[in-house]
């Protein structure tokens, strides 16, 4: 447990940092699970359900730890099901609607690439609880990135139609990528505690990984450097997140205090 986070502001920063990790996996897992039974081919039904399952498992770990760090008796379920939109700390990209299969798999790839780089650093975290979770989770993420990258390549370099759709997905999603690399006071506190890297420091490795896959996929990064942001700080989510929470939290909200 976080012995190093002695003072309150450090503890608060650690809590926020863990929410960012757990909310990303929670909201992305929710989105991916929406595919259940509707995928283009049975193997993809299985793979998408499996990815969603891993992401929900990761959520249990990150939000579980967040609840312990907060120390107010909230467990992972309380954090997932009983916070409102302004307390969510996921990046905007994961809350966007699924779109077509191409958009879903492109988002998965852009997220997996970040996640694989991030977890590679968190394995060496000075916080043993974070390092332990990162170690556990990185095996799953290694498989996710392999699969999403292969699928992006297969569809980017497939037919004219699939290429067109994958390029459109990339153009739509790329302005949301930058948010993963923005730093703020929370990140600075994590860096100085030796718990996590500065997000900006992941960018080069990420860009190399993404460029390689997109080249194989015959896809081109869109022009422009504009970045949509506001999710991981909670400053401003998209309209979509409220609808995600409406369905996700409905039973817990309608029948409070029940055991399920």
């Amino acid at each position: 447990m976080p012995e190093k986070a002695v003072n309150e502001s450090d503890q608060q920063a650690l809590f926020q940092f863990l929410l960012r990790l757990g909310d990303n996996t929670l909201v992305l897992g929710h989105r991916v699970s929406e595919w259940c039974g509707h995928a283009p081919v049975l193997e993809e039904d299985i793979a998408l359900a499996n990815t969603a399952l891993d992401l929900i498992g990761q959520t249990q770990l990150w939000l579980g730890l967040a609840g312990e760090v907060e120390g107010k008796g909230r467990d992972a379920d309380a954090l997932a099901f009983l916070r409102d939109i302004w307390d969510f700390r996921n990046i905007l990209m994961v809350e966007l609607p699924n779109g077509d299969f191409g958009q879903t798999i492109m988002r998965q790839f852009l997220y997996d690439a970040w996640s694989s780089v991030m977890l590679g650093r968190l394995i060496k975290s000075g916080n043993p609880a974070i390092a332990e979770i990162a170690g556990k989770v990185s095996k799953e993420v290694a498989y996710h990135i392999e699969r999403s990258a292969d699928t992006v390549v297969g569809l980017g370099d497939g037919t004219e139609e699939s290429h067109k759709r994958m390029q459109a997905a990339l153009n739509y999603l790329y302005p949301y990528v930058g948010e993963m690399f923005l730093s703020d006071d929370t990140d600075a506190a994590m860096v100085s505690a030796g718990f996590a890297p500065d997000p900006a420091s992941l960018r080069d490795e990420y860009d190399v990984l993404v460029a390689k896959v997109l080249a194989d996929a015959t896809l081109t990064l869109p022009d422009g450097s504009y970045t949509h942001k506001g999710g991981r700080t909670g400053a401003m989510h998209t309209e979509h997140l409220g609808h995600v929470l409406t369905s996700m939290q409905w039973l817990q909200r309608a029948y409070p205090g029940s055991q399920w």
Binding site: L26, H30, S33, E34, C36, G37, H38, A39, P40, V41, L42, E43, E44, D45, I46, A49, N50, A52, L53, I56, G57, T59, Q60, L63, A76, D77, A80, F81, D100, F101, G102, T151, V153, G154, L155, D157, G158, T159, E161, S162, H163, R165, S247, M248, W250, L251, Q252, Y255, S258, Q259, W260
Partner: protein, 331 residues
Amino acid sequence: MYSQMEKTEGGDPKLQADMTDKERAFQDKIDRNIKIEPRDWMPDNYRATLIRQIGQHAHSEVVGQLPEGNWITRAPTLERKAILLAKVQDEAGHGLYLYAAAETLGVTRDQLTEDLLAGRMKYSSIFNYPTLNWADMGAVGWLVDGAAILNQVPLQRTSYGPYARAMVRICKEESFHARQGFHIMMKMAKGSDAQRKMAQDAVNRLWFPVLMMFGPSDKDSVHTAQSLAWRIKIDTNDQLRQKFVDQTVPQIEYLGLDLPDPGIKWNDETGQYDFSDPDWSEFFNVIKGNGPGNVDRMKARRAAWDDGAWVRDGLLAHARKKAAAKQLAAE
């Protein structure tokens, strides 16, 4: 399960004397419990019946993702969400093994899918019923998968090797599904008033549709004899239905829920429960496409197939390009 209306091709079993030598040798193998394998000779009707039965079973697994998928995004805890995702993933996996077993009989998965979407093949009637409250996720696991297990456990001994072996794997997972379903029901039945109401509603609504999963009464099921002789079917519909009622009634009582049928009564003489017949006209209507969910289920599956065509084409085109490049490099 999920193969409740399969018609056996070719009518009644032949008498020994009317069989050709090949047919006699084939029947002899079955009678001696030797598995029929893909490369063995088999009567055309045996092949056709199996394709229909295994295909219908596979389609049921695939369509069966939908009523449970309906609650994944609304599961009340992270653990329940994870369990439900794992379960639905298993169902899709069952579909995959079963299509693979059917393919050993000389059809392709795409052909079977086209047959389903064109309405030429069926899936289990149960998946045309809606899942309306969270307790349905318990009831589907406990009752629907419970009913399926009763049908599938004997199919592990069915005469066609690939089907029997697929069943072994599937049965293991279905038992886990039934247990997790019952666990949800226990939580609900022992929970708040609102939760008990959900549990009772689910049992009341699903009881008769689940009884229908075993197919029509033996007296109306004309093709049972040939399927029994071929060991494609092991027990009759009524035997399985009775077994299901006998095992399930005590469980309903254990949960403290009301019995969903006033006709359920212990019969000392037979040592079994008496129960009311389902409304068979409803069953035949659902089979004909008039169930509460038929149109939407097929619409969802057709959309998945049609909207996914570009994905399948794209991945195939890429695989061909890669293979061609590899060949070029080898030359």
